[in-house]
Amino acid sequence: MAKTMPKVDVVLVGFGWTGAILAQQLCDAGLTVLALERASARTTPLNWATTFDQDELRYMWRHHLFQNVKYSTLTFRNNVSQKALPMRRLGSFLPGTGVGGAGIHWNGQIWRWLETDFKLKSHNEAHYGKQSTAGLTLQDMPLSYKELEPFYDMFDRICGTSGQAGNLKGAKQAGGNPFEGPRSAPYPTPPLPMTYGPKLFEQAAASMGLHPFPHPAGNLSQAYTNPLGMQLGKCTFCGFCEKFGCGNYSKASPQTTLIPYILTKPNFELRTEAEVLKIERTPDGRHATGVTYIDAAGAEYFQPAEIVALTAYQLHNVHLMLVSGIGQPYDPATGKGVVGKNYCYQTMSSVDVFFDDKLLNPFIGAGALASVIDDYNGDNFDHSGLGFIGGAYIAGMITVARPIEMVRVPDGVPKWGLEWKRAGTKYYLRNMAISVHGSSYSQAGNYLSLDPTYKDQFGRPMLRMTFDFPDNDLKMAKYCTDRAAEIAKNMGASHVRPKARQGPYDITHYQTTHNVGGTMMGASPADSVVNKYSQSWDVPNLFVTGAGLYPQNPGYNPTGTLAALAFLTADAIKTRYVKALGAPLVTA
């Protein structure tokens, strides 16, 4: 029998980026908040100190900070005709586990969506006709860029984001992204300086009439104190950023921007080694009573709460919805149901660039150190006659040169042997990759569901992922990668290797940890799981955060937008929901 714990106002399921945002906002509003985190507490001095953080083998290849598939995995297949098999080893994506979630080992690339990304379906159909979205299951967001902007700004101020605005309250700013929506304020800190590789990209792109700007970065260009009094240090370009924690307190993370503040609140408790198994409800199913969780000794507890917020990572949020039986699971055969629908990813391509005569020192890097163009993203360029919609940002990026992974050789050189050794040695300091960070649009056959065969360690069906790249996205990838290769050639490269993403989707190679959809937000319960406040249509005291809210994935990293949506949710809870407990904030 599960032991019943004292009731709280709000229970958070998971304590990464969105859990920390809700905790801070709701504690400050006076609610009692309990965060349940499945793994352990982690801190900078104990877990990624500068004395031992620079360890590619342990952190990257031995997955030291990542979710361990031994305890938590999923099954995967490319399409419904295949049998899904377990992901027996992490590869394509690297979710976090433990306090801070993936917000510890992320890069800190902080993006906002374009204004048109919020009305993707209607915008494209208005401009390119209904056939432009045929075969895709796109949906508009139930809110606009303008409504979300104050919360984007809040996240930037929490992180201290380094960057150059391109649009301040409608006025274009030189050196920034000319395509971005209006910002209410400049970035809190100036952009990072460019290392040589990104500089060459910037010069080449500018000479071609494109619009390069410094990539917005959660790796801070200077010391910064955020509105909560949390202090961040200046980034030292250590290059152990993506897939590592930051030993310098220079990378915005839940630990550096929010958690120490939250832990001073008497109305907050963090409980670690507490994995939530299920959301419990009243017999009519309309009200969440709390959650059941299990500790690391195998003891089960029932945690009652007035409000339940699913702040686990996207994959786990969808899984918890399905195993708790909340909402109708999506069925691709009939098109009915919404939970698990519109699972999307990110269509990542790249161009390897080799120089014979330039020393790039690529080990000098930071998670978001890049010069980037947005000319080929979203609908920033005319898609007439191209046969696809969507796009990518193209970034001359050097975040790191981890030698196990990044001793790259030009085409024609074998992958091992003497020739490889000599070419690898020659080019290690003389190559970089241009990243082509493409959109991922929904189609009917891509979805998340419960696996009929495989069970997890708690006896629940595993989550099953069915995914392959839509034709639309592969065409987009080819087009945008060709554009990136043109820039590469203008950088004075001696070898250019375009690597446009090709199908089938392969779960073994790292692409991004940008898994989205499955608990999408929308205008009505018929086509979404939650309303624009991330409130469940079926269970009004249940809120869901994260990239699962996206009906499709624009060509940007997800965290800027999902963090802004979490601030908006917190705002709705503290200003409106607490005055009308149990009531829907949007009438269906």
Partner: protein
């Protein structure tokens, strides 16, 4: 004794807890959560998490002897890794850099035991995009693979072991493994083995010297990677100029130890 909320488990208690749970036959519970204690939830209010003596620094590879590999495997691996990364004036060969020691320590430890693999059934062959579908831990995977490879080599090379065939023949055999053309008996394909093997060799050659490979940081020196630095502020805009100095590892430089 009951402990109040906010009490944090120290290393001694942790061991006691593990022992208690172990004897209760609930060893599984110990490992329910990655890297965790097998105890009750820890609770934090009004306090930052801190564990005396639990800094999560890495464990270095042990010195001396073979911990997992048998003589035949050492023979095969020493020969094979030196075809993947042969000696030449550019830098050390893989075995000179300690890669076989690295592989041995990795296979004897968490990696070899599959600490980060899901190995439960049912097992079934999948597509390439579904990835590793073996029931073997990496340690078992190496043992089965090397046995099967030596059998195949013995058949084609008149009973010789891999290490005893000429270098150009070894290269040809490795290429057949890379493509999967070398047919092996049993459930493992030569291609699957080669993929894991090449990755592990690169890991050994280029990882921090504390893990047994990359002896004296020689592989880093060869390519020009400065190692475990944390601050490059000075060189960010020093375009096209070499960053001076010898590589440094987590434990420092060889010169620091040898005076």
């Amino acid at each position: 004794m009951a402990k109040g909320p906010g009490h944090k488990v120290n290393r001694r208690e942790l061991l006691a807890l593990s022992a208690a749970i172990g004897t209760a036959g609930a060893a599984e519970a110990l490992s329910r959560h990655d890297g965790l204690l097998g105890g009750p939830s820890r609770r934090y209010t009004n306090t930052l998490p801190w564990e005396d003596g639990l800094t999560d620094a890495p464990d270095a590879a042990d010195a001396g002897g073979w911990h997992y590999l048998n003589d035949g495997e050492v023979g095969f691996l020493t020969a094979a890794v030196d075809r993947l990364i042969p000696p030449d004036p550019t830098g050390p060969s893989a075995s000179e850099a300690g890669v076989v020691v690295f592989l041995d320590r990795q296979l004897a430890g968490d990696y070899g035991n599959g600490a980060h693999f899901f190995l439960e059934g049912p097992w079934q062959e999948g597509t390439e995009s579904q990835g590793y579908q073996s029931r073997f831990t990496p340690a078992q995977f190496y043992r089965h693979s090397i046995t099967a490879i030596e059998q195949a080599v013995g058949r084609s090379e008149k009973g010789k072991a891999f290490k005893d065939v000429p270098a150009d023949k070894q290269d040809a055999l490795l290429k057949q493994m890379e493509s999967g053309d070398l047919k092996l008996e049993g459930p493992i394909t030569s291609k699957a083995f080669f993929t894991m093997f090449l990755q592990n060799v690169l890991e050994g050659y280029f990882s921090d010297p504390i893990y047994g490979g990359n002896k004296d940081g020689a592989a880093w020196k060869m390519i020009g990677f400065p190692g475990a630095h944390y601050d490059y502020s000075e060189w960010v805009t020093a375009y096209n100029k070499p960053v001076p100095g010898e590589p440094v590892g987590l434990r420092g430089r060889p010169a620091w130890e040898r005076g």
